[in-house]
Symmetry: C2
Subunit: 263 residues, 2 copies
């Protein structure tokens, strides 16, 4: 091999300039076998189209992973990485190509803004890797509904968590702001307390676990949406969404609009 070939970069090779010719020469020299391998690798320089292969995961394993990984990079990172590292272990490539640090942005409801809780944001990001395009919205919506109505955190982390038997609360919607505020109100703990952070670590694990429950059901063909807009909000929706079509949401109306149509 010449010095030039020895130092050929993968990109040079795949760009088909000097590299391709060198690769072709190697392939020819070996009667085609290695060249076939090179070609397959060139194709893998682009992501395989999603959905990627899913294998059923154990929600309890993912729950603990989410709890643990929260401490590395926050709620979105924790929930996404709990699922993605599980699939890295079970499936490997192409899940190994995802830079998990890029999920840190969702912490505190995206840059600390208190919008979408990072746990469902990260879990949905991971779910979307394995779902067909046509079903992403449907299954993700169900996770949002579950998050809105669930009493969180669960006690399923209590064998390893820093704080056990923590007060549970219901967020009422998938917003970090509502989720954290309601828990602080119920627990009388501060937002900047260790207890609150531990609660969010648990919520991260709980949400990742629920995402896996939904995915397992989806791939078992037993997925059945159960979320329903509350009866109270349904009367709002009948006008504002259906008849007037002047808004877009599935969140409950009254927490932010307690006095609508009241004088």
């Amino acid at each position: 091999m010449s010095e030039q070939k020895e130092n050929m970069s993968r990109r040079d090779f795949l760009a088909g300039t000097g590299g391709f010719a060198a690769g072709a020469a190697v392939g020819a020299a070996l009667g085609g076998g290695v060249f076939n391998l090179f070609s397959a690798q060139a194709a893998e320089n682009a992501a395989p189209p999603s959905p990627w292969k899913y294998v059923k995961l154990d929600p309890e394993v993912v729950r603990k992973k989410g709890y643990d990984l929260y401490h590395n990079g926050g709620c979105m990172y924790g929930a996404a990485a709990a699922i993605i590292t599980s699939l890295q272990e079970k499936v490997g490539y192409p899940y190994t190509m995802l830079p998990l640090d890029a999920y840190r942005y969702g912490a505190g409801g995206a840059g600390g803004w208190g919008t979408l809780c990072g746990a469902p944001n990260g879990a949905a990001a991971a779910m979307s890797l394995v779902l067909p395009n046509a079903d992403i919205g449907k299954v993700v919506s169900e996770l949002m509904g579950w998050y809105s109505e669930a009493s969180l955190p669960t006690t399923k982390h209590d064998s390893y968590a820093k704080f056990t038997n923590q007060v549970q609360s219901v967020a009422g919607n998938p917003l970090c702001h509502a989720s954290v505020s309601n828990w602080c109100a119920a627990s009388k703990k501060k937002e900047n307390s260790d207890e609150r952070k531990n609660r969010c670590a648990k919520v991260t694990g709980d949400t990742a676990a629920q995402a896996v429950v939904l995915l397992n059901a989806y791939f078992d063909k037993t997925f059945a949406p159960v979320f329903k807009i509350s009866a109270e909000s349904e009367s709002c929706y009948n006008c504002h969404v259906t008849r007037m079509s002047n808004t877009l949401t599935k969140m409950d109306c009254t927490p932010c609009h307690p006095n609508a149509h009241k004088k």
Copy 2:
């Protein structure tokens, strides 16, 4: 080459079972040059750690891409893909390893829930690929602030957009629900209208462009946050965030809590 070697999969090779031995044999036969190449490729079977290489992008190119790509997969997809496909073109690998369809989940504020608008969600996801961990929250927060206060959509799409000179509105926060509701109120158009969808395509492009403005400034070392919590909300924050620490948000308070502390 034996039949076994010819059919060796990439994963077999990289797993270091039969494949590794075969690769080593090939490398040895060629005096090391090809084996070095194989080793480099094995390392690239895992994502390089982020931040990934960023090259300055033209916000106007990204703005139009965001508009166009919205029509393929919604707001989060459009904003993320506008930036990521630009970096695929300018940098190539590893941006080519990201499955863009996995950003569809953010449409309509995540599965249609009206939470975080998909445009800043997708733009933040892309920004997070190129920012050091310690700065992700800071720069993403600034995008959220810009989105909350900007009059959108801009008219910068008018040379190619379906609808021109559309009414502008201010979302007041980064939520899809507020953004769409406020625009429907200002424009008197319906949420399910073509006009609203076209407006959201423009907002997708505008948000991706602003993300690029922020990234370019960051890498030029001229990034300077300008978002400030409104004076009205600051008085709420002084108690609820700073003193009592019973909530987490940077959103304006009064749109959802118009009657706080009023009898």
